[in-house]
């Protein structure tokens, strides 16, 4: 039987959700019996190909995030918002209280210890969006795994159900937003 293809990505994330995913520890070996990774920070694959499951960590904070998220949506049969940031923007969305220019000036011009103060303007750098957004405001999302980060058991419970063809659900003990 062909292995299930899983792609993962961190957008405006901290990689904490990926670390929590790896916290399934030795269960990762069992997972790799039935699943293989497509594009992911854990592989060298640059673009997301046709996949069964896409796990998205982080909100959407810049133009590149939008392109990557759309590529994942186009290629993944099931798209999953993983963690608080993907679900509601998370703590990075606390910058939504400030004008984007204020944030950039504070970081690159007015901040303590800044040398050669100027806002980076190389076209290779993705432009920031004026606000941070949850991923469901950009693309359709099939499942949500709350938590900052979701626990390893959340990943395991969810993936086990999905791989077995059952409708995933999370019991009370596994639902946390913090």
């Amino acid at each position: 039987m062909a292995k299930i293809k899983v792609a993962t990505v961190s957008l405006a994330g901290c990689f904490g959700c990926h670390m929590s995913f790896l916290d399934i520890d030795e269960r990762l070996i069992a997972l790799l019996e039935v699943a293989e990774f497509d594009r992911s920070p854990l592989t060298d694959i640059e673009h997301c190909g046709p996949c069964d499951v896409g796990l998205i960590e982080g909100g959407v904070c810049n133009a590149e995030n939008v392109h990557v998220l759309r590529e994942f949506r186009k290629n993944c049969k099931t798209l999953v918002a993983v963690g608080a940031c993907a679900i509601n923007g998370g703590l990075p969305a606390m910058r939504n209280q400030f004008a984007l220019e204020e944030c950039l000036l504070e970081a690159y011009r007015d901040g303590i210890g800044v040398e050669n103060p100027h806002i980076p303007n190389d076209p290779e750098l993705p432009l920031l969006l004026d606000k941070v957004h949850p991923i469901h405001e950009i693309v359709k999302v099939d499942y949500f795994l709350p938590g900052c980060p979701p626990s390893a058991d959340v990943f395991w419970t969810f993936l086990s159900a999905l791989l077995a063809g059952r409708e995933p659900s999370l019991p009370y003990e596994l639902v946390h937003y913090d």
Binding site: A84, N88, G89, A93, M94, V141, V175, Y177, D178
Partner: protein, 239 residues
Amino acid sequence: MSGTINIDGKTVPYRDGQTIMDAAIAAGIYIPHLCHKPGFTPHGSCKLCTVKVNGRNCSACTFPAADGQVVINTSDELLQDRRRITQMLFVEGNHFCPSCEKSGNCQLQGVAYHLNMLDNHFPHFYADRRVDASHPDIMIDHNRCIFCNLCVRASREKDRKNVFDIAGRGINKRLIVNSVSGTLKDSAISVDDCAAHICPTGAILIKRSAYRLPIGQRTYDQRQISDVALSGEVEHGQD
């Protein structure tokens, strides 16, 4: 005068003057709620206690019990409605639980866990209201306020001070402080007041008291809000 009502097939007695919520709590039946608190005038703003009474949706906290009423409290439809209502409360404010000191002890979060709410469904408002940190012992993060009015009622009914009010209309409504400057430091509130401790969310906080309880020992880490609410609450008017 008294009689019985029927909640989800169970016969529940009530006394005259009791609401459906009062009768349910007395009988050990949990109806999800945020703005209701036994001992305080019912408010009817959160709508989480919506139940079906004789086929119509009503707020259990304000609807008087009447003999022979058939009340549905548990159904898929009500669960979906309550989940949507809770999602509305989440997107209207900035409920970033990972950085909130009320996390684990928050009734809004506790209700959302109870309803198995996994996402916020709606686009976010990203409210932009200023924090009031002027008072030496108490602070307000207005972006976490759900306008339950409990601090308003507590200040008036328990503390006899009238420190808070809700002002503005529609989405622009906000919690205000009745002081000349509009800030907490110039109001009559003190850290011992009921109003300082009654907030069900992380909107009104006591300074220097954050993160005292280890994860795993907080209120809703182990017990569902349905259980906590019933064990801690007494009937309306019997504080």
